[in-house]
């Protein structure tokens, strides 16, 4: 039985919120739900959403989580919080009072981050729950529609899931309409005004290809297919939209994992330290806190790295070494270290956060290293030494957040005049996994209905992967 009552939690919840507001956090209204491990597994499988459309992949996720949990391989998180207004968080019933207090404080950290970090501005938190519910209802209505049915819906969902992460990464940038984009290309192609045009030879003017679709390479694959394949049914377009919108919703969380966890860990520590906990609770808190933010050798613990960096930013501001003072403190305009980290939580994402604040001493302290796969073994290739730390850092910046997803753009929707879809992989040294590329292209081929081509580098050579009516093949491009 739990060692607390609901009244205890409400009481602590109120104290924590007061403290959080006093310390300057600015969260959405918060709701907590007490649940057991089964509910938690269910919520985890569906990304925390109270309502979500059905798809077998969530059943698979559930089975996997449950197997890992039942065999004691991995425990369950103490909490789960979703980005919505009011923010919804789930607390595990079997946790001790101390853990619940820690968790509630941690949740407010996430909540504040959701509300204030710029990446989340596009997620429309106030309608999250309703949106997901509407998505679920629409997908279910297609499943139940006798002229559509579960099988065809699953077919489209499978394909859409395969492509959902191929999207523009910075949703805050406005996506120009086709007409505006052509206008921009035209304007860009114009010769620069030259005050000395009388003595300069006039530059060659080559007009941009304004007939090409898309006007500029396009990263939102699902949306492009939705808008440019005239043979899709209305419900199919809607399913693509739904999957795309969900991906957009989760994108900021993928892009800010380290910051988000670091920020929440920072605040649960600050809040609990200022709450004057009874000694036995405080002792348990210290133990739990250290479990959460300890380094994971062989992995990257976002709680640990994020918290360490926020602490470091604050220290460099409040108590810089002479050399650091020389080099300049992170936010000169901020009045205090605290104010500086508030600014950081608003304007950064993991990539920029690490790029700006992960310094050589910290890298060495965290003992970050780069590894490569060599004949079924992962071998350390570079360590954070004086010579190599920059390269290790560059690698880290490439794999963090959406860095694990290749950038692939549609450059031509009518390649060769045959409505063939031409895609280009922006190669950054990492090759595509060929089997996965083949299967994913087959999904794209289904949605597009015509041949699809993907240009990439494989083993240093330019290759064209083709998926058409005769299946998959590769040829040198």
């Amino acid at each position: 039985m739990p060692d607390y009552t609901l009244a205890d939690l409400e009481d602590w919840g109120k104290r924590i919120l007061d403290k959080a507001l006093e310390l300057g956090l600015d969260p959405y209204p918060q709701e907590f739900e007490i649940c057991d491990h089964n509910d938690m597994l269910g919520y985890m499988a569906y990304a925390g959403m109270p309502s979500h459309y059905p798809h077998w992949s969530y059943g698979k996720g559930f089975e996997k989580l449950k197997t890992l949990y039942d065999h004691g391989v991995s425990g369950l998180p103490y909490e789960m919080v979703i980005n919505s207004s009011p923010a919804l968080a789930y607390l595990m019933r079997d946790n001790t009072l101390c853990l619940q207090i820690l968790t509630i404080a941690h949740v407010y950290g996430h909540n504040d981050f959701f509300k204030n970090n710029f990446n989340f501005k596009t997620t429309r938190a106030e309608s999250t729950i309703a949106t997901f519910k509407a998505h679920a209802q629409r997908v279910r209505s297609y499943v139940e529609d006798p002229s559509i049915g579960a099988e065809r819906v699953e077919f489209v969902l499978d394909a859409a899931h395969a492509l959902s992460m191929q999207m523009r990464r910075n949703r805050a940038l406005r996506h120009l309409s086709d007409a505006d984009e052509r206008q921009r290309l035209w304007a860009e192609a114009q010769p620069r005004p030259d005050p000395f045009h009388k003595i300069h030879r006039s530059p060659d003017f080559s007009p941009p290809d304004l007939q090409r679709v898309p006007a500029s390479p396009e990263e939102d694959l699902l949306i492009f297919v939705r808008d440019h394949n005239p043979y899709l049914a209305e419900w199919e377009r809607d399913v693509l939209t739904i999957v795309h919108e969900e991906a957009c919703y989760f994108l900021p969380q993928i892009e800010t994992k380290i910051m988000n966890e670091g920020w929440a860990s920072y605040w649960h520590r600050e809040i609990l330290n200022s709450l004057e906990l009874p000694p036995e609770l405080h002792l348990e808190f210290l133990v739990r806190h250290n479990q959460v933010v300890r380094p994971h050798p062989g992995g990257l613990n976002p709680y640990h790295i994020g918290l360490r960096l926020f602490d470091e930013i604050q220290r460099r501001h409040d108590d810089p070494t002479p050399e650091e003072r020389e080099a300049g403190i992170p936010f000169p305009s901020a009045a205090s270290g605290r104010e500086a980290i508030f600014a950081v939580r608003e304007v950064d994402r993991d990539v920029s956060f690490l790029r700006r604040f992960l310094t050589e001493p910290i890298m060495r302290e965290l003992d970050l290293f780069e590894y490569e796969k060599k004949e079924e073994e992962l071998v350390v290739s570079k360590v954070s030494s004086r010579e190599q730390w920059r390269e290790v850092k560059e690698t880290l910046l490439r794999v963090v957040g959406m860095g694990g997803t290749p950038i692939i753009r549609i450059t031509d929707a009518d390649f060769g005049g045959r409505r063939t879809l031409y895609l280009v992989h922006e190669h950054d040294g990492r090759d595509l996994q060929l089997e996965y590329a083949e299967r994913t292209l087959s999904h794209l081929h289904r949605l597009w209905g015509r041949e699809v081509l993907l240009e990439s580098l494989l083993g240093g050579k330019k290759q064209l992967m083709v998926f058409g009516e005769n299946g998959f093949s590769t040829r040198p491009a």
């Binding site: 209204p29 709701e31 992949s57 992995g299 990257l300 079924e376 880290l396 963090v400």
Partner: protein, 407 residues
């Protein structure tokens, strides 16, 4: 200062908490099943499965339920934290593990989705045969014997034992009687003062379910495994043969209530042996295939008379027979084909040995019986296709309907 958060208590009632993932889990299970079926030829060729008991749980590697996306393969280094003392060149893990980079999405690394699932052998056999689209094996009309006794309902009766009382019908009878006597009862037996207006059951109301014992004619089957155990049958050949017999037995067992197994080992002469001896005891010497068939015929004659048993005989050999025995082999094979429902000959020719070793296939080509089939097994991947081909013969036999008169 603030309005506190809302805390929603734990809902103890199961009814309030739905098992929301049930439908998606079911669909996932179905996909796993499909995946198993697609890879059945690989799976049953695994050594670990052959020869296990039906309720044994086997591990089956699952493919095909991966969620594909564009991901990185080669030249994709990752970054991780060390324990404070990591050196260049140190091995930090196995490549098959999921990449431990900061990419935190689920299911986006190859290898992560290849997992094993537990399936009982019975389930596996069921999956194996469910898409074979085989009709029930033909059973000989005269060979059916009463095998199953089941109870079957046969209407209702006014008499019977208490447990078979049909309460619903009894109550209905009472009501019917009550309505039928409306207006009369009051006159006949008006209830006494203070007494309830009762209308009790009458023995005539009681209705019992009538149950009869139903005899189902079921047939028994015997699988006769004949194997050449001469010196030329090495372990690999025996393993292939064993796999084949195993499948045959599993399949026959799904079609009949009781299946018996007979093992006959032969070199120049044949004897009935136990399963253990059959597969593991090495013998030496030459081969008279006819000896094995003769032994099978004897056993059928003694214990499994074709009027009572469905006989399935299968013979595995490497085709290395003494030439002088060939006429006898052909004659006995013909006799065996006459008494058996299905008789097969499998020539085990591990890869490469096919062309320079002698073969019985040419000889058996002359055997003209519709229920006789020869297959060639070169490697373990052949087992499943060969097995399908073998059973297809039975199907063809059913299609052409008429079979030669019983021996």
């Amino acid at each position: 200062m603030s309005t506190g958060a809302i805390f929603r208590p734990f809902r103890h009632s199961e009814a309030e908490r739905s098992d929301r993932s049930a439908g998606d889990r079911l669909r996932h299970r179905q996909k796993i099943r499909e995946s198993i079926r697609d890879n059945i030829a690989d799976i049953i060729a695994e050594e670990s499965i052959i020869g296990k008991r039906g309720d044994r749980v086997v591990k089956v590697p699952i493919r095909g339920v991966r969620e594909y996306r564009f991901i990185y393969g080669q030249n994709a280094p990752g970054v991780a934290q060390g324990d404070g003392n990591v050196q260049e060149g140190q091995v930090v893990g196995q490549g098959s593990q999921q990449q431990k980079g900061a990419g935190d999405q689920a299911g986006d690394q190859p290898g992560q989705d290849v997992y094993e699932t537990d399936v009982t052998l019975e389930e596996l056999v069921e999956i194996m045969f469910e898409d074979l689209e085989l009709p029930d094996l033909e059973r000989r009309a005269l060979k059916q014997i009463p095998a199953e006794r089941a109870s079957k309902r046969r209407g209702y009766r006014p008499v019977g034992i208490r447990v078979r009382l049909d309460k619903r019908r009894t109550a209905r009878e009472r009501l019917r009687r009550k309505f039928a006597t409306r207006g009369h009862t009051a006159a006949i037996e008006a209830p006494a003062e203070g007494e309830e207006d009762r209308y009790p059951f009458h023995p005539d109301d009681l209705t019992y379910r009538h149950v009869v014992t139903d005899f189902k004619n079921e047939s028994n089957a015997v699988v006769i495994c004949i194997m050449d155990t001469s010196g030329s049958m090495d372990t690999m050949k025996k393993y292939l043969a064993r796999s084949y017999f195993f499948l045959l037995y599993q399949f026959i067992a799904t079609k009949y209530r009781s299946v018996e197994l007979v093992f006959i080992a032969h070199h120049t002469d044949a004897r009935e042996v136990t399963e253990e001896e059959f597969f593991h005891k090495a013998e030496s010497g030459g081969t008279f295939i006819s000896s094995g068939y003769q032994k099978a015929l004897e056993i059928i004659d003694e214990r499994y008379h074709p009027s009572l048993w469905n006989v399935y005989a299968f013979h595995c050999s490497d085709g290395d027979n003494f030439d002088s025995d060939n006429p006898a082999a052909l004659r006995t094979a013909k006799q065996l084909a006459d008494v058996a429902n299905l008789f097969g000959y499998g020539e085990i020719k591990p890869l490469g040995s096919r062309y320079y070793e002698s073969s019985m296939l040419n000889l058996f080509r002359r055997l003209d019986a519709e229920n006789f089939q020869t297959v060639v097994i070169e490697k373990k991947e052949d087992i499943w296709p060969a097995f399908r081909a073998f059973l297809a013969k039975d199907r063809a036999g059913v299609a052409t309907a008429e079979r030669p008169a019983e021996a």
